[in-house]
Symmetry: C2
Subunit: 229 residues, 2 copies
DNA sequence: CCAAAAGTGTTGACCGTACACCCATGA
DNA sequence: TCATGGGTGTACGGTCAACACTTTTGG
């Protein structure tokens, strides 16, 4: 590579991840206790610095993999924060990503147990720098996306019940939904395959499991599809 | 400032602007002929490198100001492109912004006349690097935003007529709209103030001018407002 | 047999869409 | 007087929201 641009300033670039999870009741966020300066000991998003040979997306995947051991995480770039004083230590740009992970897939690595913790989204503590702003933006994006794309399935196990899915949407939108209308709407899209199996925990009667029909989804996407809860 | 992060790689960061304009018929994009290597002579978005003391937003404003002399431009960050090989000259991250400018406000500076040019959005040439991808994303964002926020007013003069506004929405969405339904919808939001003055060019009868009612808009925004065309 | 969650339909209000004719005026 | 774009109302169909009772079964 020939260097063309020698004269220009170079910058540190961080990647910070807003990691959402769902435990069948609450929408949660994974935070860590920062173990280096500045602001050591305060809660923060999971993050790291962009390295020389990797793209931004790759850096986000690396950071998530190091934390969780998971590889196939739903991930989307959110925004890049570029205020000059956002990190009091030194000037750092930060590209924020948000991730959706299935609680069941996730097991905290032993070496993280002491420092990483899930927080319900209504109880996020004060975070370092501009991280609370990032969380707010991620929350708004998740709400919006969940209305026009079936993004919620990334937060649920492979097999799930309609009441489970409804609780997820209620957690994302922080309001109660009518179960008749919800079921009607969801099923009318034709994206769920009903299984012959029932979930027996959580109720006497039991709720049928469903599976997300990814093939039908891809068909619909390719024909310009839009769905609303 | 104490340096905390010495060990990490630093990166060149560019800011590229997708500049939309509207001339009462077509939606247009302002492009420039690149006058430095690599890929000198090819069409490109307007851009520049982020400098030491400025935020990303400030860099975008500086770049727009240098090109147009305009200060109060509608500007929004779009996405940050971080592939390692996106610039064949050397590794450069690029944060893309999109801007909406009123054609009437804009006069090309003399020194740019030979190199900057408006292109109708249906006729965008091949651009350098990943700039066509940026343009596509900006176009989709503009379409989406125009449905939920009255963003279109940024592209029109202070006083405008309903048919003018309709032509803008038709250009953004690339489909024809019914004029009765459009007028009904737009006026029902109560965001337009009718003036006592008519535009006499463009038709025999003349069309009443309207002005965007920013105060009512702010009221509505603060009460959680959503509008669709 | 009872508590607790799953499952099921109907109706009225509202909204989006389709559609055709008159108006004002400059040339 | 005529060509051109501006301006207006109605009716239909589909979608959203509100609403209450029955089913299943483990304890």
């Amino acid at each position: 590579m020939t260097p063309y641009y020698f004269d220009n300033t170079r910058f540190l670039v961080a990647v910070d991840c807003i990691i959402f999870g769902f435990d069948n009741k609450q929408l949660k966020l994974l935070l860590i206790k920062r173990n280096f300066r500045p602001q050591k000991g305060k809660w923060s998003l999971v993050g790291g610095f962009l390295e020389g040979g990797e793209s931004l997306d790759q850096a986000a995947l690396r950071i998530l993999y190091n934390l969780s051991g998971l590889n196939d995480i739903y991930l989307e770039q959110l925004y890049t924060y570029g205020e000059t004083e956002r990190d009091p230590g030194e000037r750092v740009l930060s590209t924020a990503y948000y991730a959706l992970i299935r609680a069941e897939d996730y097991h905290l690595p032993i070496n993280r147990e002491s420092t990483a913790k899930w927080f319900p989204i209504e109880k996020i503590p004060n975070l370092i720098f501009d991280h609370n702003i990032m969380v707010d933006k991620a929350m708004r994006r998740l709400r919006r996306k969940s209305l026009s794309q079936p993004i919620g399935f990334e937060l649920l196990p492979d097999k799930f019940t309609i009441p489970q899915l409804q609780r997820l949407y209620e957690a994302i939108h922080q309001r109660e939904l009518d179960k008749r209308n919800f079921r009607k709407k969801i099923l009318s899209m034709g994206l769920l395959k009903k299984l012959d199996e029932k979930q027996k925990t959580g109720s006497r009667k039991g709720a049928f499991y469903y599976r997300f029909d990814i093939e039908k989804y891809n068909d619909l996407v390719s024909t310009g599809f839009h769905f609303e809860i």
